[in-house]
């Protein structure tokens, strides 16, 4: 095989890989932050479904993918409030509460998703216009990826730096390691845990919206 062909195949492969991993990177970062404050949230599947459904509906309605992302993230955040209320407010079991959130998200998205099946969304513009496709290796990556892919990568880096290089990141890790120690240090562990769950909800809803609005460009049923 000629060298240019190898480069083209490699470029397409990298592009496809980054495209499908963009939502996963965001949702994984969100859940990692949640687990770092000592909370397991099995409901992220439900939050993603809700984010995908609401994000798609808003993007199809307004024609703006960015508004869709915002609405999807808000939907994920809203659903994760249930986990906050059950785990922190009522001392309920985290695994059980996660499954409850999952069930609610599944129900809400299949109930309200029926209305938007068959809708159309534009998605974001790719990083470069199609005349850049001829550039070896970078061509397929630039023309197939939207700004969401670099955004996700940068988010992972920022989350890592924030967790290990800032004071609040340290506080979050203290809460995750030891609730009692955190309290003794004057950190309010419940507040931090609530923030952790909500950040996870925000990012899973956002990731769901990327999945439906930017990745498949199809309705939530697909």
């Amino acid at each position: 095989m000629a060298e240019t062909e190898v480069l083209a195949v490699a470029g397409s492969w990298v592009a496809a890989m980054l495209r499908s991993s963009t939502p996963l990177m965001l949702v994984t970062t969100g859940e990692t932050l949640t687990q770092r404050v000592g909370i397991v949230n099995l409901g992220i599947e439900g939050q993603m479904l809700c984010g995908a459904c609401v994000g798609f509906a808003v993007a199809a309605q307004t024609g703006s993918p960015v508004l869709g992302f915002a609405a999807g993230a808000a939907a994920g955040l809203l659903l994760s409030l249930v986990h906050v209320a059950l785990c922190l407010g009522c001392d309920a079991n985290q695994i059980g509460s996660g499954i409850a959130v999952f069930t609610l998200g599944l129900g809400f998205s299949s109930y309200f998703g029926r209305g938007v099946v068959g809708g159309k969304v534009a998605g974001l513009a790719p990083l470069a216009a199609s005349d850049a496709a001829g550039i070896p290796f970078a061509g397929p990556i630039l023309t197939q990826l939207t700004p969401m892919a670099p955004f996700a990568i940068v988010t992972v880096l920022i989350a890592g730096l924030w967790l290990y290089r800032t004071r609040t990141g340290l506080n979050w890790r203290i809460v995750g390691e030891s609730f009692q120690t955190a309290r003794a240090l004057g950190i309010r562990p419940l507040v931090v845990q609530a923030q952790g769950i909500l950040v996870g909800g925000l990012m899973s809803g956002f990731a769901g919206a990327i999945l439906s609005v930017d990745y498949t460009k199809l309705g939530p049923m697909s």
Binding site: V82, D91, I95, T103, L104, G107, Y111
Partner: protein, 343 residues
């Protein structure tokens, strides 16, 4: 009455009230008269013999899946894999039927059911083995194996086992009469329900009155004490996971044989997940799971009926299940908080 009993009663009553309240708010939000619709749902669930039979049909796999969650929970294990075990049991049971469709009933029926239960036991046993040997978290492994089992079923019904006469519909051949689990009480409810109730009673007796139950309790409470008393955590982990998986796999093959009549996609509408909810609602108690499974089965059957007669999407039943579980968890959590404060 001691404070913990009264707290429990308050929690149950408060939970029921909160569920009815949130369900009413949800129904009002989707533009349905809340109280009339709730009454209607109760009628669709248990109003006449047909509704009751549909509710029992739904309750059967839910009960079996709930038992498959409760038994490991007695050892302190949290499994969410009933859905995958159900699918894998359906797959292995169907393998027997597809291979020997003309075998006589006396051979085919037991072979099919045993293969289904063994498949479920194997699928769950893998997670059990991982936990026992390598300390892999069983909640995560069972959760992930759910997806594998569902996709394996899709693989065979779109591929090797697809019925050539089904005009492209992805499903196996219809099960012969010799491989159809018989119905009971002259309704659509099948013999799996009877097996589920018997299994619940046997398991309840076994863990309450037998030495085995003591082993599980001690192991769940304190691993070190248990090992000094000669109880083997790894062996018990494998055992409870396998028995639980067998029950879920049995549910899968019964559902395939008696209700669907062939293996096809969507043999379970989240029965595994619902079974998990029922197990938690029952407080991981085998006998309490029976009425709760029937009630939740009624809720799902009512959701289907609402879709049929009132054009309300059946996903509303899923939402109500989520609401039920959320308020129940909240109520029992608050009750636990109160008891600790008093005690």
């Amino acid at each position: 009455m001691n404070p913990s009993t009264s707290t429990k009663i308050i929690a149950v009553l408060g939970g029921v009230a909160a569920f009815l309240g949130t369900a009413a708010i949800f129904l009002a939000a989707i533009g349905r008269p809340p109280f009339a619709t709730l009454m209607q749902m109760a009628l669709y669930a248990f109003g006449d013999s047909y509704s009751l039979s549909e509710s029992l049909v739904k309750a059967t796999p839910i009960l079996l899946c709930a038992l498959s969650v409760i038994l490991p929970a007695r050892l302190g294990l949290i499994t969410v894999g009933a859905e995958g075990q159900l699918y894998f049991g359906a797959l292995t049971g169907t393998a027997v039927v597809v291979s020997y469709p003309a075998a006589p009933m006396i051979v085919l029926m037991p072979a099919m059911l045993v293969a289904g239960a063994a498949g479920g036991a194997f699928w769950s046993g893998v997670a059990g083995l991982l936990r026992a040997r390598s300390n892999v978290n069983e909640t995560i492994s069972t959760l992930l194996m759910n997806y594998v089992a569902v996709l394996l079923v899709s693989y065979v019904i779109y591929g090797a086992w697809k019925d050539p006469t089904s005009l492209g519909w992805p499903a196996t051949i219809p099960f012969p009469k010799a491989a159809t689990v018989p119905s009971v009480f002259g309704t659509r409810a099948h013999a799996g329900l009877v097996v589920g109730i018997i299994a619940a009673v046997i398991l309840h007796i076994a863990v309450t009155y037998a030495r085995w139950g003591l082993a599980l309790r001690v192991l769940a409470g304190n691993r070190k004490v248990a090992s000094m008393a000669g109880f083997d955590f790894n062996r018990q982990t494998l055992l409870v996971m396998a028995i639980g998986g067998a029950l879920a796999g049995f549910a899968g093959i019964c559902e395939t044989s008696a209700i669907q009549g062939r293996l096809q996609a969507g043999i379970s509408v989240g029965y595994g997940l619902t079974g998990f909810l029922v197990a938690w609602l029952s407080g991981q108690h085998f006998l309490r799971a029976i009425p709760i499974a029937v009630l939740v089965g009624g809720l799902i059957a009512a959701g289907d009926a609402l879709q049929l007669y009132a054009k309300v999407p059946s996903a509303s039943a899923t939402i109500m299940q989520g609401l039920l579980f959320a308020v129940a968890l909240g109520a029992s959590g608050l009750a636990g908080k109160r008891t600790t404060r008093h005690g």
